[in-house]
């Protein structure tokens, strides 16, 4: 019975995606002078060269980190949207160590990534702490903290790390030892992809195979039940936010050390928000996160290629992503069909 329901869930997600893609086609057809070409570069562009395949893999890395982060925070039914700020702040923390410290190769990025993770953990932990201590809405406070992270991060970069000779507002160059190695020639795919894969497994083990993960899931399903069965809900909620924040911060650190020579961001990168979509598509299951991350990275790179080669701006991807979230998260979407299936299974 469970198996066919799971299949149905998958089918439901596929149908949601198909509807969103159909909408994308309608948008392209109405707005482009060369719809055929635009559509082709949108759907097949990411596969047409090694460089474009590389782009998809590069983009998957931050999306996996943010997707895992949001999955773990949402698993405890906490709407902490701080992954965005945690990612940004983790990147800044790692930049400081990458510029200022001198360490042997492998150890340097290792320390910098852990440091980025620790900063991310503190960052996402604060809204969690405010929630368990006083019941302040983690949704509102984490949204505010994202703006605070942004301005405070820019302050740190501009006043302590800024390279005045560089012309633009960028940091000093990172030490060579801090950078993550590139894996595939002609692309920017870096070692971070292995770290991302490692984190997928660690997150899955944490959520499904440890007592803490179990407690987090119980709280997410029914907090009153968790309370009555003797789980320390406050501490467990805080733990889930710390772990989620740690992964987001790691993601930011991996991103800057893998792709950049200096810290150059002048706005929030937005991966934390995409991470929310990844988590929803993956149903908060770490093992499905890479699949969702691949899909969203593919969409986004396809749109980039299309906007470069044709006259359609790539921002329309946000519209498609929004529609996918709404349909996938909609309990009533195809509920009648699901109900029929349940009845049929029960009769059989």
């Amino acid at each position: 019975m469970f198996k066919s329901l799971k299949l149905f869930e998958l089918g439901r997600i596929v149908i949601a995606i198909v509807i969103a893609l159909a909408l994308a086609m309608v948008i392209i057809f109405f707005n482009s002078d060369m719809p055929g070409e635009a559509l082709k570069s949108f759907l097949l562009g990411p596969l047409d060269s090694l460089r474009h395949i590389g782009n998809v893999l590069e983009l998957m890395i931050p999306l996996i980190f943010c997707g895992l982060s949001v999955s773990i925070m949402f698993s405890a039914a906490q709407f902490n949207l701080g992954a965005e700020g945690g990612f940004f702040f983790g990147a800044i923390g790692a930049s400081f160590l990458a510029v200022n410290w001198n360490l042997p190769p492998v150890i340097h990025p290792f320390i910098a990534i852990l440091w980025g993770g620790a900063i991310g953990a503190v960052f996402c932990g604060i809204p969690g702490l405010l929630k368990i201590k006083w019941g302040a809405s983690e949704l509102v406070s984490s949204l505010m903290f994202n703006y605070i992270a942004f301005f405070f991060g820019l302050y740190l970069i501009n006043y302590f790390l800024r390279d005045v000779n560089a012309g633009a507002m960028v940091s000093y160059p990172f030490g060579e030892t801090a950078k993550l190695i590139k894996l595939i020639p002609k692309t920017k795919v870096h070692f971070g992809i292995f770290i991302a894969i490692l984190m997928i497994f660690l997150s899955a083990v944490f959520i499904f195979r440890t007592r803490w993960g179990y407690r987090i899931r119980v709280i997410g399903k029914n907090i009153a039940f968790a309370e009555y069965s003797g789980i320390n809900t406050a501490n467990t909620i805080l733990l889930s936010q710390l772990v989620g924040g740690f992964i987001a911060g790691m993601g930011g650190a991996v991103e800057v050390l893998g792709l950049y020579r200096r810290f150059t961001w002048q706005s929030l990168p937005g991966y934390g928000w995409t991470g929310v979509i990844v988590a929803i598509l993956a149903r908060n299951n770490p093992l499905y996160v890479p699949v969702a991350a691949f899909f969203l990275a593919y969409l986004s790179i396809g749109a980039d290629i299309m906007s470069r080669q044709t006259d359609v701006p790539n921002e329309f991807v946000a519209i498609i992503q929004g529609v996918i979230i709404i349909l996938v998260a909609a309990e009533a979407f195809l509920a009648r069909q699901r109900h029929k299936l349940v009845v049929k299974e029960a009769m059989a």
């Binding site: 946000a318 979230i325 909609a330």
Partner: protein
């Protein structure tokens, strides 16, 4: 410190507080109406953004700022209607639906802006209109008060007028009563024949229209153009302001003014030698602090009420047992 004081203690600063409070106040009232019906409208941020662009486009097409405002408000209502459909009919979690709508608004406005203005950043190439400023005859010639309260955009006056309108609507009309009933206890409301879904739709649409006013003000009053992500979290700040204001119109107005004060302060402190990043952070930090203080006070209040109730109960039990033991003897 003196410099800060002299910036605050002048009429110009007072004027700018009201100016920056306006969009937050509209959004706060929007948050209030939907909250009273028991739904969280986190899409306020995106609705404001969409309405800001709508106002610019339609005022440029028609040459009339008022038509732009009308369309902005209507679009605001429509987006909220969509949010209602997703959450009430399709049963999407309303927070996720709100996140999705905000995402669509952020990307979609840039997409549309590029199509109509040929630019992804700012609507400078559109000849959009600005809503008029109003000089209040007698008031404007009074020193200090005149420069603070006169000469504002028409929507600024409307925002403060709306505080009264929303109060009247929620507390003095039958539909307001129904909205509050649904928010207090939807099952009880349902049992006396109120259609919960219909009431929530109404509240959401009204809340979207409020955000529509706020968005129109952003692009046709606060400044005279649309730029990408120009709402900069004001919709989110409004959610905090509404909560801190104790979910009342006047309370929401006071907290909006508080945030407006710090927003204006951050604008005028940029001249001083404080790093601008710190100054820009200020309003958001104040929101978090305010939210925490508010929730601490609320939990303590709840505790006190509970303790008092517990005490009453134990007294009653004591009285009862005293009574029954009296009967025995």
């Amino acid at each position: 410190m003196n410099q800060i004081l002299s910036t605050i203690l002048n009429a110009e600063f007072g004027y700018s507080v009201l100016r920056v409070t306006t969009p937050i106040l509209f959004a706060t009232l929007g948050a209030l109406i939907s909250d009273k019906a028991g739904v969280i409208n986190i899409a306020l941020e995106g609705i404001m953004l969409i309405s800001a662009l709508t106002g610019v486009i339609f005022s440029a097409i028609s040459g009339s700022a008022w038509f732009g405002l009308l369309m902005a408000v209507i679009f605001g209502g429509f987006v909220a209607l969509a949010l209602g459909y997703f959450s009430l009919n399709l049963k999407t979690d309303i927070i996720l639906a709100g996140v999705a709508l905000n995402m669509i608004a952020s990307g979609g406005t840039i997409f549309v802006l590029y199509l109509v203005a040929g630019d992804k950043g700012i609507s400078a190439s559109l000849a959009s209109q600005v809503l008029p400023k109003i000089n209040i005859p007698l008031l404007k010639s009074i020193p200090v008060l005149g420069p603070i309260f006169s000469g504002h955009n028409v929507l600024t006056y409307m925002a403060f007028l709306m505080v009264f309108v929303v109060w009247f609507f929620l507390y003095k009309t039958p539909i307001g009563l129904r909205i509050r009933a649904v928010g207090e206890n939807e099952n009880a409301a349902d049992s006396v024949g109120i259609s919960v879904v219909k009431i929530r739709y109404t509240a959401l649409v009204l809340s979207g229209m409020m955000a529509g006013f706020g968005g129109a003000y952003m692009s046709m009053g606060y400044v005279s153009w649309f730029s990408r992500d120009m709402t900069a979290g004001r919709g989110f700040i409004a959610l905090a302001a509404e909560a801190m204001g104790g979910a009342t119109p006047v309370g929401g107005m006071l907290t909006s003014l508080l945030f407006g004060f710090f927003d204006a302060l951050s604008n005028s402190l940029q001249i001083l030698k404080i790093p601008y990043e710190f100054v820009s952070m200020l309003p958001y930090v104040v929101v978090v602090i305010g939210l925490v203080i508010y929730t601490i006070r609320k939990t303590e209040q709840a505790k006190r009420i509970q303790e008092r109730a517990a005490m009453n109960v134990s007294e009653e039990i004591a009285a009862l047992s005293a009574g029954s033991s009296g009967e025995k003897s």
